[in-house]
Symmetry: C2
Subunit: 653 residues, 2 copies
């Protein structure tokens, strides 16, 4: 991707293992070490010592014999032993010399805190390019510049000057985080720690002269002790590496919760000012994260909520959810939220409803199951109700709203033990709770295996996200026939009718002039349904296949679906189903979601459409100089009638 | 609205003042009083005494001489003095007799806690109808049955058995709350109190045998000490009263934050089970809340966030917002959230940008203004930056992300005083903060006039909601010519062409057979744009006018706009603008939001369309037996070409 701060990154070779020295070093030098533990060059020394980092720490500061009680060295070359990681906290103009000295010393990785590079001006850009060259030539791995560093909470390696660590050190849970923005990563680390979420590895990539967010994701995907990956980016600097990283995380069944900001014009403008990122078209990024199975979070709360629930390790096998509530009103809200999130609030089986009604005559037994506050008069009923609900394995998740009642005197233990027993009996079922109460009570519910939210809607949404992530992780990677080997280049400019016809024919798509098709007056006008299929070239991700329904309404409402090339037919089917207007393409069964199922919408030939999209994606992947392609319209016929392009524009660069 | 628990409510006369005895009584009897302060009949006595209620409390319990230390009476008739309010906590079958005794005693209002009415079975329905009759005949006002009562925190009147009051009593802020659901109202009260929000009046209406949510809203709108109204409903039992209440709240410029649940099929089903509410079409409710200026909250968090910010009393005059951040990454997020919420992230003026850049060379001065953490090295800069940003009154709101930094030692006072000074100088500007820190620090920022959120996105969304509420409060009430006086009834069944033509002609809409219009082959096909206009009859709100664009895509995507009848032309214009596909109807300027502004979309005659909608709304309002009307299509011509209906179906009941 072209951007202001560096040349486009070539696809690096797979990097598994090469970040080890950065994240799990045995020895750390701090260049620009400060005696003052509140300064940038002082904080990491203080943090690592407070957190019990067991490796060697070498302050480098020519003006002092000791720094914070440790022997100090005049330069990195004078450090006696091996240095795995160098922290560089010197002014930008001095960074290049320091980095050269690190290379001479055979340092394996460096973190550059210093600002004053590509985010500032052309001189800064030049300095940053120089860093990049040193990294590529020597093999030293560089994090930053203009970053807040890295931590590994399992080893007490807090190689960062983030002030959020002052109150408490994070503990090594199953979650890891990589972020372009250091301040935002600090904010997330603080909030996560306050919520009791353990962040194990934490990396901030800043200007990404060398190490990118994508590479960090791939490294995390390879680590057994990491089961949930959080990522934050303003621009994607290594698109192929991102795709590979996401594919690997999916193969390892590790949820990736990804926040990519800069979705609006104002936001994209702000992103450019912040880390010099040029965002590609946001909807393309959206499609690609979905295509490769990463869950895109839109807000900080959503990011944390989803990582939090994912860290409990249960991804429900289906979207069927049981809603349990002591407030009918909240039951209604949860049902609304569940439906909106496309969870299936399937009613309880008749026998279960009868059983519940027998236990609790005032209850609403259908689903949501409203046990009312009266259930707490006989606390054994909570356990019995749960057994009844779960008896036939109908549900793969349960969201229970207990609010403050679950924290009342005498309630905590019986409710928690009921939940613990249910979870032991149904380990694949996800139990999420909505509870208001003190932190230590919430932790005791968490210890029983249940994520806890204050807000019931957020609990429902997080559960829905888990079901979605499970579906995406279950999808096989796209098996597009490997048509990436460059095919014949196109001639430059717009192709003539004969060439276009033959190219489309090779992709299995007949191109016919519209005259022979158009219905005569008086005849039924619609034999097929028109879609518009295109290939556009995204600055970041290359050729993208798009589809939308014909007509201006679909266009102005932005109902368009897209995929990076190449992809196979199952992926094309998913792409088609994502259209909000999909019911118009699908058969009568799907059509019934609308009120006016007048039967005017037949079952169009979706297999032929999916095949056409997949073939086009392979053509686009194999044609390096394809600038754009548009089939407007591509007509899809009912039943097994196939597809025909009525008009085609194909342009070579 | 027909529903299971009672006959449709006739439009009651305006009730201002008639709830005073319920909410501000001087004397309260508790019928079914309990010595046990944790039981339903015991809690209100305990709460009122603990909270210092200064009126008389009369326990009524034939089995005891004293209850919780107070003299007890065998029945209500034996209470010595006047009783303003009776709390009834006896089993359902005894309620009718108790209520009769209250009427004899000249009690002015009653709260019925008891369950076992319309929510249970037909016998319960019969009991509830009897209560309703007593209320209508005698004038006693009844809250419930099946409710959690009422509180007035200003007078220590806690006439409720909600257990959420155990930890802390709410304080009398400017917010009041009415809710059908008692458990949900308790949950909201608890969360609001934990957030430091003061709830003054709190009412739960339960089955609404007499007093409805709508009437409570109207009563609150009349009270000077209430400036924000929160309302929760599962079904609307008094639609005309709701409209009148919302119109009054708008006239008094009091934001109404309304949560109406049961939006999904599963949720509506659950609502029926909970309070026997039959929800009308949810999209109709949506349209009506918007039409009369109430803000619809979708989640508990949104409800509380919006009421919280509204309680600070500043509704920004425009949508222009300045975003201030110490993290570039969060600045991007806030810009995205602001754009999505249709705030205007207008760039700072050049001079202001220059000034900011002079003060802080590392800052991004455009908007978001990223002052970076370095701004905190010279704390005076916060104040200077705020002055620079606000100098020319360009912005009517500011959202500042300071995270934990605003709570660090030595930071709180200077930042807070900078904000206080800025707020004093710009009292009409809304300052919202995103801060992570301890409660007492947050309260000190609140005391300086700034609402505080942990999450920056929620802060931005709440500010956007304030701007929207301001716009809605500024709208004049619809001035539809008062065509409610019933006009001529239609004949039953579908009208013939001649009748339809003359009815539409009277509404200023020509009806013409399509043959004379249709373009011949080879001519430009589109001279106008087709919309579909209808009148449907909602079970709750009566005739509703709807509009959408022609074609199946608009239909399947649900892009439809609607209004309750009657309404005037300005309201019709707002209705048209709400369509997501509005750019297709608007002129070139609006069209430019889409990428492919090919000029094929002319400036259609929106004034003629708005006039047609307003006239139809008056016709519908004046025609009592109109079952439905559909103009499919109504063609709108460019420029001043007017509208023509090409086909009309009008059906009388």
């Amino acid at each position: 991707m072209p951007n202001r701060q560096s040349q486009p990154h070539a696809t690096p070779p797979s990097s598994a293992g090469s970040l080890d020295a950065l994240i799990a070093p045995d020895s750390v030098a701090v260049i620009g070490a400060s005696q003052d533990p509140s300064r940038i060059g002082g904080r990491p020394i203080r943090y690592m010592r407070e957190a019990g980092f067991t490796g060697a720490i070498y302050p480098v500061n020519p003006k002092r014999a000791h720094v914070q009680g440790l022997p100090s060295y005049a330069d990195i070359g004078m450090v006696p032993g091996q240095v795995d990681l160098a922290i560089i906290a010197v002014p930008a103009p001095k960074v290049a010399d320091v980095l050269d000295a690190c290379v001479k010393k055979n340092v394996k990785a460096a973190v550059i805190y210093s600002a004053g590079f590509a985010e500032i001006d052309k001189e800064g850009q030049r300095r940053q390019d120089a860093i990049r060259e040193v990294a590529l030539d020597s093999g030293i791995r560089v994090l930053g510049p203009n970053c807040l560093g890295v931590y590994n909470s399992d080893r007490g390696l807090f190689a960062t000057f983030s002030t959020t660590l002052e109150s408490r050190f994070p503990h090594p849970g199953p979650i890891s985080l990589v972020s372009q923005s250091g301040a935002y990563a600090s904010h997330l680390s603080l909030l996560a720690t306050q919520r009791g979420m353990g962040i194990r590895y934490w990396l901030t990539t800043g200007n990404e002269a060398d190490i990118t967010v994508s590479e960090c994701i791939e490294w995390m995907a390879d680590r057994e002790e990491v089961s949930v990956i959080m990522a934050y980016a303003e621009g994607i600097n290594a698109p192929d590496a991102l795709v590979r990283a996401l594919e690997k995380a999916r193969a390892r069944r590790k949820p990736v919760v990804f926040m990519k900001v800069g979705t609006s014009a104002a936001g994209a403008q702000a992103a450019r000012a912040h880390t010099a990122s040029t965002a590609g078209l946001d909807s393309v990024c959206d499609a690609i994260l979905r295509q490769y199975g990463a869950f895109r979070a839109r807000t900080t709360e959503e990011m944390l909520d989803i990582a939090y629930v994912a860290s409990f390790g249960t991804l429900p096998r289906s979207r069927r959810v049981a809603l349990l509530t002591i407030s009918g009103g909240v039951g209604v809200q949860m049902a609304d939220a569940a439906s909106q999130a496309e969870l299936d609030v399937a009613p309880m089986r008749e026998e279960a409803q009868t059983q519940l009604k027998r236990d609790l005559p005032f209850a609403s037994p259908r689903n949501p199951v409203d046990i009312t506050a009266q259930a707490f008069n006989n606390i054994n009923l909570i356990s019995e109700n749960l057994n009844t609900i779960l008896a036939d394995d109908r549900y793969d998740s349960v969201v229970a709203f207990f609010t403050y009642v679950a924290c009342a005197d005498g309630m905590v233990e019986p409710i928690r033990e009921s939940l613990r027993a249910a979870k032991l009996k149904h380990p694949d079922c996800l139990f999420a709770l909505s509870i208001v109460g003190p932190r230590q009570v919430i932790e005791s519910y968490e210890a029983a295996g249940c994520p806890v939210f204050e807000d019931p809607t957020r609990a429902v949404r997080a559960v829905a996200a888990m079901a979605t992530i499970r579906e995406w992780l279950d999808e096989p990677a796209s098996l597009a026939s490997d048509a990436r080997s460059p095919g014949r280049a196109l001639q430059s400019g717009q192709l003539g009718a004969r060439d276009a016809t033959s190219i489309l024919a090779a992709a299995g798509i007949p191109l016919t002039a519209p005259a022979s098709l158009t219905a005569r007056e008086g005849e039924p006008a619609v034999e097929g349904i028109d879609v518009i299929v295109g290939v556009v070239r995204d600055v970041t991700f290359g050729p993208i296949v798009t589809i939308r329904l014909g007509g201006p309404v679909a266009e102005v409402l932005g109902d368009i679906s897209m995929r990076r090339v190449p992809f196979d037919e199952p992926e094309a089917h998913r792409m088609i189903r994502e259209l909000k207007s999909f019911p118009l393409l699908a058969g009568r069964e799907e059509r019934s979601v609308s009120d006016s199922g007048t039967g005017r919408c037949p079952d169009f030939d979706l297999p032929a459409l999916a095949a056409a999209l997949a073939r086009l994606s392979e053509f686009a992947a194999g044609t390096p100089n394809l600038e754009r392609l548009q089939l407007d319209p591509l007509r899809v016929f009912p039943n097994h009638g196939g597809v025909i392009a009525l008009n085609a524009v194909i342009v070579g660069t």
